[in-house]
Subunit: 384 residues, 2 copies
């Protein structure tokens, strides 16, 4: 295990009926910007619960934050925060609303020029407004970390930043929000959480049994509970287990002291940027390609994944790797998520474009920083 530092002060408030606690967790006298997305919170009752819980606070609402939140939209919110002297941001939505709110929190306090620098140059985030979150969609893990991904429509760029300053002060996770989710969003959430774990696990061994077993624990739970939630959206217990899995998948804990990959995300982001494919779906496309192309480098962990998570105990190393990739693909497909580029009408031209962009950027990705344009071409061609 490598040396590491870990600190995660986010307060998690978990369970049915807990949204009522939101007001008690916001400092008295705060002026709140309530951020939300496309308006599902008006249909599922969450908006009403939140509003009832923050009576007495001054509240301005800012809706319309998109999936893959747009820089252009978020900068409008930054303007409101400044003009209205907002002191607290309350994100009511899924990972996109929360990621967008994190950027608003940082950009509103940014004094080193254009806030785009936070994303494009990773300019340090020295201050940010405090954030509270009411989560309406388990998937991204954003509720218990300081990560954010933002898309600039103008340039088709999807870029990330991370700072402890934008970790939510609290996040309320009521699994009942899942009851009204469309099948597609649940399936996306299951795959998103699954691949978050894989990015911190499927690298090379560094003798880290706690991190490995915790990662396998989350994968096994997602494999069992995900399909149950899809089959019966009002199964509270499965919803709760799925929701807690998604949070644990990306709160940093399983990633301490181990190598991390994130190539699947980096390549997937390009597919979203160019084709608007849902984030989770891009991961389901790219991951099998990476497992195949990087099978030699990742073989020990792929075999471990196969054995401990999928129960694959027979065959040569190569056969086990093939079976493990196959099982993973079958799982994604079983929850309704196709895993090949043609399923999304993506042609070879896009592969060229993505490789060119990585060529220009000049850096490589993956746990050994050895996945560049050449490897990305092989990975994506594997998914044709």
């Amino acid at each position: 295990m490598y040396n590491f530092e870990y600190q995660n002060p986010v307060k998690i408030i978990f369970g049915k009926g807990e949204i009522k606690k939101v007001g008690a967790n916001i400092p008295v006298g705060s002026k709140i910007l309530l951020t939300y997305g496309g308006g599902s919170i008006f249909k599922n009752g969450v908006y009403d619960q939140v509003k009832a819980a923050i009576q007495g606070f001054k509240v301005i609402e800012f809706g319309g934050i998109e999936p893959n939140p747009h820089y252009e939209t978020l900068m409008k919110a930054v303007e409101i925060v400044k003009n209205e002297n907002i002191t607290f941001l309350l994100s009511v939505g899924g990972g996109s609303v929360l990621d967008g709110t994190k950027f608003i929190a940082a950009a509103a306090c940014f004094d080193q020029g254009d806030p785009w620098l936070i994303l494009s140059k990773h300019a340090p985030v020295k201050n940010a407004l405090p954030i509270g979150a009411v989560l309406t969609l388990p998937a991204t893990g954003s509720e218990m970390n300081g990560n954010s991904v933002v898309t600039r429509v103008e340039t088709k760029e999807k870029l990330a930043f991370g700072s402890e300053k934008v970790m939510p002060v609290f996040s309320i996770l009521d699994p009942e929000v899942i009851f009204s989710l469309p099948e597609k969003q649940v399936a996306n959430g299951v795959v998103d959480a699954f691949v978050h774990v894989i990015e911190q696990y499927l690298t090379f061994p560094v003798n880290s049994p706690i991190q490995d077993r915790f990662a396998e624990s989350i994968l096994k739970t997602l494999i069992v509970e995900g399909p149950k939630v899809l089959a019966n959206r009002t199964d509270y217990e499965s919803a709760a287990n799925f929701m807690w899995s998604a949070t644990m998948a990306l709160n940093g804990l399983i990633g301490v002291g181990v190598p991390q990959d994130w190539a699947t995300h980096m390549i997937g982001h390009e597919l979203t940027a160019y084709h608007g494919i849902d984030h989770a779906r891009t991961l389901a496309i790219v991951l099998p390609g990476i497992m195949h192309i990087k099978r030699e480098q990742k073989k020990d962990k792929i075999v471990q994944l196969g054995e401990r998570v999928w129960g694959i105990t027979e065959g040569s190393v190569d056969e086990r790797i093939d079976q493990t990739i196959q099982k993973t693909v079958e799982f994604f497909e079983s929850v309704g998520i196709p895993t090949r580029l043609p399923d999304y009408n993506v042609s070879t031209e896009t592969i060229d474009t993505i490789c060119e962009r990585f060529e220009k950027r000049g850096f490589k990705v993956g746990e050994k920083a050895d996945i560049g344009p050449v490897e990305i071409r092989l990975i994506l061609e594997n998914r044709l």
Copy 2:
């Protein structure tokens, strides 16, 4: 899974050579009380590393905090804190030094009368001095929680308190501190961490697969890594895995949303109070008795423990329970920790005394609060 709240802001700094970071994590201008125990830190080099790292701070030293830290000793430190206007407590030692330091931190700020009330009446801890920890012994998990256990010699009472106010601001975990530990302390640490997991796991099922699998992950890791550390104290990787296991065993994470027991600890504390038996050893004595006497109530989880951790897959439920108890006892004995009262020269008179004390206290323990004097007698008689 039950509803829960979880927040753990402790900053963990983990790995070899990390003790040098202690100064950078203490506020500039702090006046430090450096607390320690019997003086092992002078022999293993930790004292020198800490002193080098806090040059420039005003430091007063307070040594001699005992295993099962004494209220009487700690109150002397409280006096020094007040007289010397100490602003930061730096605990350099194992769980006892840190537990003692937590009580000093709370007692020094206590303004509602005799600080003993914090332990005897669970008087609320409204303020406490900030604490930093350099851990020299993996076992108690105190480095990442707000719990503390203190013994009053005068009355032979061993009592606990807990408050988020006494969670360390940071804890430095350098696994190399294990290299110079006596065998007995390593064995105690392995068993202590093992039973911490059991107290949060071996109750009744509430459909909590993440918590269950994380708990099993820690148990499996302790079973593999504990003996390796005992066999080769300078095996850094095993030391690191053992140390991280002990922290994860009691930082609250595996206990969220599930029933908890703690009867083994409550009964074990009495054996320490009356006979001075090492804390971990009292747990190794009591736990098999509880598993036996509460076999009906705990059967689902005992069978799950047997299957997933010990690989017991054959036999009737009763046979599996017996095998699981047997495997657990064998593990404790294999690391050199006897599990029966006569091994420690404890007679039946002590059983009478402990039952009388629980009779007087009038409350019962265990996850269903149904373990009182009658059950405690059965549990302890099972250990004769």
